[in-house]
């Protein structure tokens, strides 16, 4: 790709795009700094700021459409400058950012509104909205930054918000631990990301997107591979992909709106954004693409398999998210047209996964925070709106036409089959398999929750529907789940062309229609199987299961692996070092001191108090001095 990337300076309405970030940021600051004084109206301020940002985003979007060069940047101030290194606090509004801005602010707004109801009885609601706004601001920085450092700034910002929100109920040890785990695993990815930035600067002398894009062809393939792998590792961290996947399910310790917004719709797709944004790097190296595809495929299967075995409604959805983001990685890894497809899937996923989470939240809201799907059943009678909206999202995610999931997922499967060699079969089949598994676990979830006999305990006397402030966002998201896919699959790739390049389709190893049919077939098989198995509910106690299911229940031993390989040795190492520091290094110093003291104590015994001893030491000294002088005289030392 030899065309030069150039960002035009922002003018007109777009020069106000800093407000996109500023609105939620200021709101967050107000909410967090004012403290209890803002308790009464804080949540509304939170919603308002995001809503305003959404409106501004829409306006900016339209303004961008009117621009000839659809990439507009706004350098606010010099951020970091030293020697030849210089980055600005600069924002970039281009088609990719625009799409993300709309998703973040749009879905974000809905979830904010929903959270007003969901968090109504929580004493920390104002704090919650502060964090939430902070998250939106950071996420907008992530997607609006015009250089890698800005992206990283947002990247870490969302990490922080995620941490804060996961451990929002910090009094619960599990929540605190989960937050810490999320932050730490993200940090691993972040470290890789930041090293990638260093590498870019060392190689190219710039970290701006345009500069990198225009010079990436000068890099050797080894450097590109390294760069890509580092970025990928960063992306996997944020997106909960293999190998940094373990934190995402634990992140469900946070309040449900958090799961919906951060750990389903927006933040976790940051990795996808990063790879899409860096498409010029990933496209430049086919090995790199293979790695990305492999990560995507592997993760989508892992997520799906584990999702089948989980009984916690939010965990199932979390693993589902892992799996779906796997699809997106698969898409961005495939390159070419699939970049846009991944973004489409991302957007669609944003709608239906948010809907699913909010629905789950609504269920929990009505069920006294019960999350075990084995304890649900027959809820469709009690919470109709939730049931309907959840059902639509369910259908969307399993990819049943004509709902959005079909339009977003099926092209990725097709694209997988369009690879050049035998890997087409490998990844194509993996993608298909994933679709089937998705259908299975989502159907299981849906059936167990809303249908079949009621299995909840008697203390929940009146399962009830949520208040309108929660259901209205549900409805809106359901609409999105239904329609978004179909609406976007055409225009969005075209819209993204300036960023991601022109659509170049390869030859699929199978006919397009065959793949479509296969995809629908596996979906139906999966869903049907689940329906058959779970239409009558399930046992509320854990059942003995085969090795695979046991493994799946235990997250395929990923946590166990982490514990055995990183945590335990780490603790041991720490303890060993504490010992070493105290007894070794400090001990050495203290030892010197002690030996001086001991030597002193022993030497002072020579001062016996007997004058004759003193005389002896003098005579000895005299003898030695005279001997030494004579030795010098005779040249014995020479």
């Amino acid at each position: 790709m030899e065309h030069t990337v150039q960002f035009a300076p922002a003018t007109g309405l777009l020069s106000g795009m800093w407000l996109l970030v500023a609105l939620p940021a200021v709101s967050a600051a107000v909410l967090l700094l004012l403290g209890r004084r803002a308790d009464r109206w804080g949540h509304w301020l939170g919603c308002l700021s995001v809503g305003a940002a959404f409106v501004l985003g829409l306006l900016s979007f339209f303004a961008l459409r009117g621009q000839e060069n659809r990439a507009v940047q706004l350098n606010l101030w010099e951020f970091i400058s030293a020697g030849s290194f210089r980055v600005d606090f600069g924002l970039l509004f281009d088609p990719l950012s625009a799409v993300f801005v709309l998703l973040i602010t749009g879905v974000g707004f809905l979830i904010h509104v929903y959270a007003v109801g969901y968090m109504e009885h929580d004493e920390g609601r104002r704090r919650f909205f502060g964090y939430f706004n902070l998250f939106v601001a950071a996420m907008l920085v992530l997607v609006l930054g015009n250089n890698y450092v800005m992206t990283f700034l947002g990247w870490e910002g969302v990490g922080l918000a995620s941490y804060l929100l996961i451990s929002f109920w910090y009094v619960r040890p599990s929540a605190a631990t989960a937050g810490k785990k999320a932050f730490l695993m993200n940090r691993v990815g972040d470290a890789a990301f930041v090293i990638a930035i260093f590498l870019l600067f060392a190689q190219l002398g710039t970290v701006n997107f345009d500069g990198v894009a225009n010079q990436v062809h000068t890099l050797s393939s080894g450097v590109t591979l390294m760069l890509g792998l580092l970025l990928l590792l960063g992306a996997t961290g944020k997106s909960g992909q293999f190998p940094l996947t373990a934190w995402l399910p634990d992140a469900m310790e946070g309040p449900t709106p958090v799961s919906a917004l951060i750990h389903a719709a927006t933040m976790v797709t940051g990795g996808v954004y990063l790879i899409a944004r860096s498409n010029f790097i990933f496209t430049a190296n086919s090995t790199l693409q293979l790695v990305v595809v492999s990560v995507g495929a592997l993760t989508l299967l892992i997520g799906a398999i584990i999702g089948c075995a989980k009984d916690d409604i939010k965990r199932v959805l979390a693993w589902s998210t892992v799996s779906q983001i796997g699809y997106m990685f698969l898409g961005v890894g495939l390159g070419g047209a699939a970049y846009a497809l991944a973004i489409v899937h991302l957007l669609a996923h944003g709608f239906f996964k948010a809907g699913l989470f909010l629905g789950a939240g609504s269920v929990m809201h009505g069920m006294r925070d019960q999350v075990d799907i084995r304890r649900f059943g027959g809820l469709w009678k009690y919470m109709k709106i939730t049931w309907v909206t959840f059902g639509l999202a369910w259908l969307a995610i399993i990819g049943l036409p004509p709902l959005s999931g079909f339009f977003s997922k099926e092209p990725i499967i097709v694209a997988a089959f369009e690879r050049k060699d035998w890997t087409a079969w490998l990844f194509g089949i993996a993608a298909l398999l994933g679709a089937g598994l998705t259908a299975f676990y989502m159907t299981r979830l849906f059936m167990l929750t809303f249908h079949g006999p009621k299995r909840w305990t008697d203390d929940i006397e009146h399962p009830h529907e949520s208040p309108p402030i929660m259901t209205i966002p549900l409805v809106l998201l359901a609409v999105g789940s239904v329609a978004a896919g179909g609406l976007m699959v055409g225009p969005v790739p075209k819209w993204l062309t300036p960023v991601l390049g022109h659509e170049v389709r390869g030859e699929a190893v199978l006919a397009h229609s065959a793949i479509t049919i296969l995809a629908i077939a596996v979906t139906l098989i999966g869903a049907g199987l689940a329906y058959l198995l779970f239409r009558d509910g399930t046992a509320t106690a854990p059942q003995p299961a085969g090795a695979l299911v046991t493994a799946a229940r235990k997250n395929l031993y990923i946590d166990a692996f982490n514990e055995a390989v990183f945590e335990k040795p780490g603790i041991f190492l720490t303890r060993a070092l504490v010992f070493l520091d105290g007894k070794g290094i400090d001990g050495a110093v203290n030892g010197i001191a002690a030996s001086v003291g001991g030597g002193s104590g022993r030497l002072r015994r020579l001062q016996t108090g007997f004058v004759r001893s003193y005389a002896m030491s003098m005579l000895t000294g005299a003898l030695l001095v005279v001997a030494a002088f004579l030795a010098v005289q005779y040249g014995w030392f020479a």
């Binding site: 101030w77 600067f201 190689q203 010079q215 050797s220 504490v578």
Partner: protein, 508 residues
């Protein structure tokens, strides 16, 4: 502007110290107010100096020089380059806050209150001197004298093993200082019996002599900074010192070490600096990882913070010895930011300790429930300490790693892994102190019923504001630092590597 800022800044706190020390012991409140007012006045003067400083002007500004000991060529020469300026500013900013934060510290041990504040002011005076000196002898004098007030602050007003810690602090520093003394003497003799910094920079030494002299200076600075493996005094000192003093100790006083390397080791002994750079880098990198792991294993909040600082000093060391403009700027910026962040961290920890009368992590647990605001500030300080983007330390850490990556990838990558560990120790600390179920002993503690007082808010607010401001807009500081770092790198004879690939036009 010809106002003798530097000498006045050095003397003023000393005068304040004398005034405060002479106040009657029976009127502690008066002493506090006078000390606070004095330090604020000093701050105002420092701000004036900051304004008067011309970022693009001469390398050394506000130069003053008066004869002192003509026989030895010693002069009272004060001059500040950008590096010194920011450090002076940091001292001036921290001191009023520390005084305010230490409002009740001295009373707890039934100790002499005016003397405590007098010691703080005296310490400020010596620290001003050490950063403002442009005469090697003068620098050495302040370097050593600085120990005395700090020694008494730790030893008389500290907690825990304060005697042991104070003696250890003093001896360690003195040992380093004496190595430096030997080197200073050598420098003086070999450099033509002058102590003038500029003259010594221009002097030529034989390779062997230069290396030995470098080692003499480096030993002092490595102990002061402290670098692995000379660090073991810091956890003891930091753990025993009262929180305010610890904030000063770790936040500013130890920076003399890294400052000294930048100001003395590099320009005076460029060849030796390059020769020993691998050694220094190794020590620094080991320090980053080692201290971070140790920090995880600490059960004492103040010791923990001390260990984190050792890790941070490792970063600064990496930045200095990478010999690139970015890393150098990062290192200097790190010195400032770390002063703010760790200062804040120590002060907040001090507020916790003051309430609980214990610094043991295991004595806390779930404190966030009782003291949400204070816990929030602790979290913020922790995040700043782990160099979260958006806080000031991020910029510096980023620059350090970026700059060192261009010349030494291995070091940079290992150092970068330190940021993971940093998250580990900070979050682990946060979790064990403020999160989780509330420790029953804590709930029944009288002190834990009161969240931050107005005084405490006033203490932390400026620091938080500065950390955030410099996190997003470090330019005011980097503008001052950049020329100085560039000049230092020129002194040491290092130039930034050009981008390995790519066209030069694109680099703009």
């Amino acid at each position: 502007m010809n106002f003798p800022f530097l000498s006045v800044l050095t003397v003023a706190p000393l005068v304040g110290a004398v005034v405060v020390a002479l106040l009657p012991r029976t009127r502690p409140a008066l002493a506090k107010q006078v000390a606070l007012g004095w330090s604020v006045a000093v701050l105002a003067l420092s701000v004036a100096m900051w304004i008067a400083y011309q970022a693009g002007g001469d390398r050394f500004q506000f130069r003053e020089s008066y004869p002192w000991i003509p026989n030895w060529g010693v002069r009272f020469t004060f001059a500040a380059d950008g590096i010194a300026l920011v450090m002076l500013m940091l001292i001036a900013v921290l001191m009023p806050l520390v005084i305010l934060a230490s409002w009740h510290d001295a009373e707890r041990g039934k100790r002499n209150v005016p003397v405590y504040f007098a010691l703080l002011l005296a310490l400020q005076s010596t620290m001003f001197g050490v950063f403002a000196a442009a005469d090697v002898f003068l620098f050495y004098v302040f370097f050593e004298v600085m120990l005395v007030p700090m020694y008494f602050l730790i030893g008389s007003y500290g907690g825990g093993k304060r005697q042991y810690a104070a003696v250890k602090f003093f001896l360690y520093s003195l040992v380093g200082g004496l190595f430096m003394l030997a080197a200073v003497i050598g420098l003086w003799v070999l450099g033509g019996h002058t102590f003038d910094w500029q003259a010594l920079v221009d002097a030529n030494f034989s390779t062997g002599a230069e290396r030995w002299l470098f080692l003499g200076f480096f030993a002092a600075f490595a102990i002061k900074a402290p670098f692995f493996p000379f660090h073991t005094w810091l956890p003891d000192a930091g753990g025993a010192a009262p929180a305010g003093a610890a904030a000063i100790l770790v936040g500013v006083l130890d920076k003399v070490g890294t400052f000294g390397i930048l100001r003395y080791c590099l320009p005076l002994f460029p060849e030796a600096s390059r020769y020993f750079a691998p050694l220094a880098l190794t020590l620094a990198v080991i320090g980053i990882i080692y201290a971070a792991l140790l920090a995880v294993g600490q059960n004492d909040l103040k010791r923990l913070v001390s260990y984190t600082s050792i890790a941070h000093f490792g970063f600064i060391g990496v930045g200095i010895f990478a010999f690139t403009t970015q890393a150098g700027t990062g290192a200097v910026l790190y010195m400032v930011n770390h002063g703010l962040a760790t200062g804040l961290l120590f002060l907040v920890v001090g507020m916790f300790v003051a309430r609980r009368n214990s610094a043991l992590v295991s004595d806390f647990g779930g404190a966030g429930k009782l003291l949400p605001l204070l816990a929030g500030v602790l979290l913020f300080a922790g995040l700043a300490s782990l160099a979260l983007p958006g806080t000031a330390p991020f910029v510096s850490e980023f620059l350090v790693l970026l700059g060192s990556f261009t010349v030494n990838k291995t070091v940079a990558v290992i150092a970068t892994s330190g940021i993971i560990l940093a998250a580990g120790y900070v979050l682990w600390m946060i979790q064990r102190t403020t999160q989780g179920t509330v420790n029953p002993a804590l709930a029944s503690n009288e002190g834990m019923r009161h969240d931050m007082s107005l005084r405490e808010k006033v203490v932390v607010a400026p620091l938080i504001a500065l950390i955030v401001l410099l996190g997003f807009y470090p330019k005011p500081v980097t503008d001052v630092i950049n020329p100085a770092v560039k000049a230092t790198m020129a002194d040491v004879g290092a130039s930034d590597p050009a981008p390995a690939a790519g066209t030069t036009e694109a680099a703009r």
